[in-house]
């Protein structure tokens, strides 16, 4: 019973916090959000603690039996992502209480962030394809508003592209869902997996899977469908961009991996090759875009795209080693990217700009910020004692196992360029002689300081405790490829 409650709490708690605080004052909304987030964090940590023992557990909502009702299910993969996203969201929202102007906070920022978190949690936990679509809509609705909060001109311009492409993705999603339902008569993921694993690949099923992958691809921002991301992510305040980079694109890749592994037990060679190509091109184009930028938030947005390539690479390899790498990478990149966005937020507060050419000399004035930025940047680039190194090492080992040499070269090359680009950020913003004066006189607000330093420490910890996390990631990857535990938890029986 406790487990059945645990499975729905990550959706209910933030939603309740949003509902109860919407009619209230800003102070109430802020407090309700922090309380709701703490509840969410506790629930998802407990969920992870159960899942980490290797159990897959499910609840049939409204007590309708499995293929007919909606199932919520958690395994190590979803537990790990949920817990890490919850922790990051907690810190980022703490940051936003100080970094986002009160004028914007009043536009129901906190309830919207709670709805976004509820949508993401629902997408991670649901075991039903149509329900997944619904959660995507919930989180997209919230993100549309968060992205254009304040309605500045560039925000609306970016928001328009974001909305348009995501609506197209949703249409593809629905088409895929319709084709699957028409050809199999079920939308429960476990039921789909069990039924289709015995059948040969037929035309509607291939088309359906392609539509679904295409839709998740747009939402995850892979090559060549990533245009909306760098066009929009740099426009809202840095804390919102940090939130988006930790939650939104990651849910796209999560769905790709979840649905892909369940619906295609043995993917056709052509598809995995195509995915490998897409992954490589995403990595390369993303990082090349980043190298050309001098505006920090824009640069980081391109890096999100490039890092998504690594995640897709791990999925495309379709092996335990590859998925292990991808899952570890998930946690690592969400944390490291959040650090960098929050650093950008502080620079923006100090200088009213995040253009690297106009920044400089912050190494002297804000040493803690410089250290946090260094840890985040080098973690993302993958220097040895930090988390990125282990993530990339695991992926490289996995590509070698499968003898995917082009992907190997791409991964290593992109890694070098990432290091270059990260050095550029650090050298330009912190090291070079100051070019303009600080605007903000007051000190770094404690909430922002705590969140930024906390996330940087988390990056360090992920590197130090890489071994237990990697074991957990491997367990998750084995569950994903084995499928039996998942099917049994949802459908019962052997």
């Amino acid at each position: 019973m406790i487990r059945e409650m645990l499975l729905v709490l990550p959706v209910l708690v933030p939603l309740a916090a949003a509902i109860l605080s919407v009619p209230g004052s800003l102070v109430l909304q802020r407090r309700a959000a922090m309380v709701g987030l703490t509840g969410h964090l506790v629930a998802s940590m407990l969920l992870l603690a159960v899942a980490a023992r290797g159990e897959v557990f499910a609840v049939q909502l409204a007590a309708w039996p499995a293929p007919f009702g909606i199932t919520f299910v958690a395994d190590t993969f979803s537990g790990l992502l949920l817990a890490s996203m919850s922790l990051i969201t907690w810190l980022v929202l703490l940051h936003s209480t100080a970094s986002i102007p009160e004028r914007l906070q009043r536009l129901t920022f906190f309830p919207l962030a709670m709805v976004l978190l509820a949508g993401v949690s629902g997408a991670l936990l649901t075991g039903d394809l149509f329900n997944l679509y619904v959660w995507f809509e919930v989180l997209l609705m919230a993100s549309f508003i968060l992205l254009t909060l304040g309605a500045e001109r560039p925000q609306l311009e970016g928001g328009l592209k974001y909305v348009a492409l995501n609506l197209i993705a949703s249409a593809f999603f629905l088409t895929g869902v319709g084709l699957l339902y028409g050809s199999t008569g079920t939308l429960n993921l476990a039921d789909l997996s069990r039924r289709t694993s015995e059948l040969p690949l037929s035309f509607p099923r291939i088309a359906a899977v392609l539509f679904l992958l295409l839709s998740f691809g747009i939402k995850a921002a892979v090559f060549p469908l990533f245009g909306w991301l760098p066009a929009s992510y740099h426009t809202p305040p840095a804390a919102i961009a940090a939130l988006f980079s930790a939650l939104l694109t990651k849910v796209g890749v999560y769905s790709m991996i979840r649905v892909g592994t369940l619906l295609l037990p043995q993917p056709p060679e052509a598809l995995t090759n195509a995915l490998l190509g897409v992954a490589g091109l995403t990595m390369v184009t993303g990082v090349l875009g980043a190298v050309a930028q001098t505006e920090m938030k824009r640069l980081l947005s391109f890096h999100i795209v490039s890092q998504i390539g690594y995640l897709v690479l791990g999925f495309a390899l379709y092996s335990v080693a590859g998925l292990t790498g991808a899952i570890y990478f998930f946690v690592h990149v969400s944390v490291a990217k959040a650090v960098l966005f929050l650093v950008a937020g502080e620079l923006e507060r100090q200088y009213r700009t995040t253009d690297l050419t106009e920044l400089g000399g912050s190494y002297r004035t804000s040493p803690t910020l410089a250290a946090a930025c260094f840890v985040g940047a080098m973690g993302l680039a993958g220097l040895p004692p930090l988390s990125g190194f282990f993530a990339k090492l695991q992926l490289v080992v996995a590509t070698l196992e499968r003898e995917a040499f082009f992907s190997l070269v791409a991964a290593l090359l992109v890694s070098m360029l990432t290091l270059f680009s990260m050095c550029k950020i650090w050298a330009e913003a912190f090291w070079k002689a100051p070019t303009s004066a600080r605007v903000a006189a007051e000190d770094w607000p404690p909430a922002m300081r705590f969140a930024t330093v906390g996330l940087a420490l988390l990056t360090l910890l992920l590197g130090t405790f890489a071994e237990p996390l990697m074991t957990l990631a491997q367990q998750a990857a084995e569950q994903l490829l084995d499928r039996q535990a998942y099917l049994q938890a949802v459908l019962g029986g052997p």
């Binding site: 059945e4 729905v8 209910l12 939603l15 509902i19 919407v22 009619p23 609840v59 909502l61 409204a62």
Partner: protein, 133 residues
């Protein structure tokens, strides 16, 4: 511009439409109807009232900000699922009981009531905002 025909009609139709919306809400469990349609009819009643009497009169009829209806409705729907937990049932499980006078009532009705309130609140919110632009 005030129209006598519209004013008279709305005086008659406004309570009738509201009553009809509740009727739709209640019959919705087994027959066509339900919270969504009921909410739309109730919101249509508000729109008619606004056409006849002006938007500020309608605002005072509604009395509270429409967004509160949305929060209350979502709260009802979310809370209706929690009831099952006290009987060791999964979230959202439908539980029924018989009350004197009212007959059979249960958590799905509470959920539908939540949808009803949410739809009224949402449509009224959009309506008021657009009207006042």
């Amino acid at each position: 511009m005030r129209s006598l025909i519209l004013l008279t009609a709305s005086r008659l139709l406004f309570p009738l439409l509201l009553l009809f919306s509740v009727f739709l809400l209640l019959r919705g469990h087994n027959a066509p109807g339900g919270g969504f349609v009921g909410g739309l009819v109730a919101a249509a009643a508000l729109a008619l009232h606004a056409l006849a009497h002006g938007i500020s009169a309608t605002r005072s009829v509604v009395a509270v900000a429409p967004l509160n209806f949305v929060a209350l409705g979502l709260g009802c729907a979310l809370g209706s699922g929690l009831v099952g937990w006290f009987w060791q049932q999964p979230y959202l499980t439908g539980l029924w009981t018989s009350l004197p006078l009212l007959g059979k009532v249960g958590t799905p009705l509470l959920f539908d009531l939540g949808v009803y309130l949410l739809v009224i609140g949402m449509v009224a919110h959009v309506l008021f905002l657009l009207w006042e632009e």
